[in-house]
């Protein structure tokens, strides 16, 4: 049974990685029509370095991801403090309100943003994408910081305050340093949410201003060359590195072995 289980696991991992490996390998294949057999080249990475629209979309993606990461973590940490350290009426309702941005299909959220931003004159473009990405990242930040706070003892802050520290001082001197790993995890997670976001960006992009996923989608539908494989391979590598750092920080899937 054990051997069968391991074989099945290996087959599952093969299925998950087969297309990704093929796609990355073809970024190094000479034929523009993806013809096999394989001939090694770095030509497509050179072509990529000269592709203006793709590079500016990459720049936009990184810019929005950095801004989203900082804004969502700042705003989400504050909300998380109130939700986890204070008690007030409507607290559980506010917690439930964090779910719609996660649970409603992005197609619906994205089109709703398009309609509303158009109607109110906010319009489309980078600023609109940023508003959308931050909103999608906030609930995750609140959850990550909240989980970090539950493992933190509230009486440490109370001890500081009972010794004459103001709440603000107690936060900066006691809570914040202890929360640092959660905050870094939240920053990374929000960055990844924004970098991977396609649907919302797609509806809020304008023809000149788009993000990397939107540009890749447009290219796939127009017809493409291994240049797209090259940028996708780089994109995959960046995401993978981010997740591995995140996993290290939050001990994701860590020692669940209780035996």
């Amino acid at each position: 049974m054990i051997a069968l289980g391991r074989a099945f696991l290996a087959a599952t991992i093969f299925f998950l990685y087969l297309p990704i490996v093929v796609m990355v390998a073809l970024a190094f294949n000479a034929s523009p029509l993806y013809t096999l057999p394989f001939q090694l080249t770095f030509h497509w990475f050179v072509v990529l370095a000269n592709n203006g629209p793709l590079l500016s979309a990459t720049y936009n993606s990184l810019l929005i991801a950095v801004a989203t990461s900082i804004l969502a973590t700042a705003v989400g940490t504050l909300a998380s403090l109130a939700l986890n350290r204070r008690s007030f009426r409507g607290q559980s309702l506010l917690k439930v309100l964090l779910l719609p941005p996660i649970a409603i299909p992005w197609l619906i959220t994205g089109t709703a943003m398009l309609v509303f931003f158009f109607w109110t004159g906010i319009g489309r473009g980078l600023h609109a994408m940023l508003i959308g990405h931050v909103a999608l990242a906030i609930p995750y930040v609140v959850l990550i910081i909240g989980t970090g706070m539950q493992t933190l003892r509230a009486d440490l802050e109370e001890a500081a305050m009972s010794m004459g520290s103001t709440p603000v001082h107690a936060f900066f001197a006691v809570t914040l340093p202890l929360l640092a790993p959660s905050i870094i995890a939240a920053l990374l997670f929000a960055f990844a949410v924004s970098l991977d976001q396609f649907v919302v960006s797609y509806f809020l992009a304008t023809p000149g201003v788009s993000t990397l996923p939107v540009e890749i989608y447009t290219s796939i539908r127009k017809g493409f060359t291994p240049e797209i494989n090259a940028i996708s391979a780089i994109f995959l590598a960046v995401s993978a590195i981010l997740v591995l750092i995140f996993a290290q920080l939050s001990n994701l899937g860590g020692n669940r072995d209780r035996h």
């Binding site: 054990i2 289980g5 099945f8 696991l9 599952t12 991992i13 299925f15 998950l16 297309p19 990704i20 093929v22 796609m23 073809l26 993806y34 705003v75 989400g76 504050l78 909300a79 403090l81 109130a82 939700l83 204070r86 008690s87 007030f88 506010l94 719609p100 649970a103 299909p105 197609l107 619906i108 959220t109 089109t111 709703a112 398009l114 309609v115 509303f116 931050v134 909103a135 906030i138 609930p139 109370e158 709440p167 991977d196 396609f198 649907v199 996923p213 989608y217 796939i220 539908r221 494989n229 996708s232 994109f235 995959l236 995401s239 993978a240 996993a247 994701l252 899937g253 860590g254 072995d257």
Partner: protein, 297 residues
């Protein structure tokens, strides 16, 4: 009364403390209101309009958009196709994800378990679009599958799965399988070895152990995994478009068309809300099932 609760009770009464609470919450919830809640309200409003609002023209209200399914019977076929795609994808994710999760929880240990776990959830954090694009490399005519087939059968005709129903399902299963492995793994790793040892010592064989112990105890993971998969899959539009081509007409692509090509925003909004209603029904039903199971155990 403990010190902590005393502080909290006092905090609730002091006006300055409630101001502080409001100040902490306002940025996040203000942002969510601007970017999610108000847009959803605006979309609900739009769904009752006769046509997209043009400045200077009066707004005309109608419920026709919600009657679209009656007036345009092809939408029934599209909706059914979306549900079919959702069921196939969810079903295959159960068939692959549950055994994989059980194998991960019970047939591996220590460091290799940790690495395998990361390997399974890693693709899930990489861009979905890039992964769908990867499948076109495998499935297309002259792609890797075709190439591999011709290595063994040189005389076979060229073979392409791209732009077919199975292609859409393969891409979606690939996209959502990690959810199922993750939720089932959380259930499966909580199962005590002693339950299985007890069953075995009473003479239970492997199928009995599976049906009587492993499956029931993994059910919460299976249900939450299925919801996490079914809901986004019926709203998917990028996977059916790229892997399905002309075959890939789903509710997702029809809604997308209303906003990007047909510019019939009121109809798109009404279709979105119909889908949202279905999603909420699924969540409501499943939370009752999950809550019910929680009390049994």
């Amino acid at each position: 009364m403990s010190l902590a609760s005393e502080v909290k009770t006092k905090g609730r009464r002091r006006p300055s403390a409630s101001w502080a609470t409001a100040a902490l919450l306002t940025p996040a919830y203000g942002w969510l209101t601007l970017a999610v809640f108000l847009p959803l309200c605006a979309m609900l409003f739009f769904s009752f309009l006769k046509r997209s609002p043009i400045p200077g023209r009066p707004l005309l209200f109608t419920i026709d958009n919600y009657l679209a399914f009656i007036k345009r019977p092809y939408l029934f076929d599209v909706a059914w196709r979306s549900i079919e795609i959702g069921l196939w994808t969810t079903g295959l994710c159960v068939l692959v994800g549950l055994p994989a999760a059980l194998a991960l929880a019970r047939a591996t240990s220590g460091r290799s378990k940790h690495i395998l776990f990361l390997l399974i959830i890693l693709p899930f954090w990489t861009n979905g679009l890039v992964r769908v694009f990867s499948w076109t490399m495998v499935l297309r005519e002259g792609g890797v599958l075709d190439f591999a087939l011709h290595l063994f059968m040189p005389s076979a005709p060229t073979f392409s799965l791209l732009y077919s129903f199975p292609a859409i399902i393969i891409g979606l299963v690939h996209a959502y399988l990690p959810y199922m492995v993750l939720t089932c793994y959380l259930s499966a790793s909580a199962i005590e070895d002693s339950y299985i040892e007890a069953a075995r010592s009473l003479g239970a064989r492997t199928p009995t152990v599976f049906w009587k112990i492993l499956l029931p105890l993994c059910l919460p993971g299976l249900i939450s995994g299925s919801i996490l998969i079914f809901v986004p899959v019926i709203g998917s539009f990028m996977e059916p478009r790229i892997l399905g081509g002309r075959i890939g007409v789903t509710m997702g692509t029809v809604i997308e068309d209303q906003f990007t090509a047909a510019f019939n925003w009121p109809l798109g909004a009404a279709l979105s809300f119909t889908m949202l209603a279905v999603v909420l029904l699924i969540f409501a039903a499943s939370s009752r099932v999950l809550a019910g199971r929680g009390t049994i155990q």
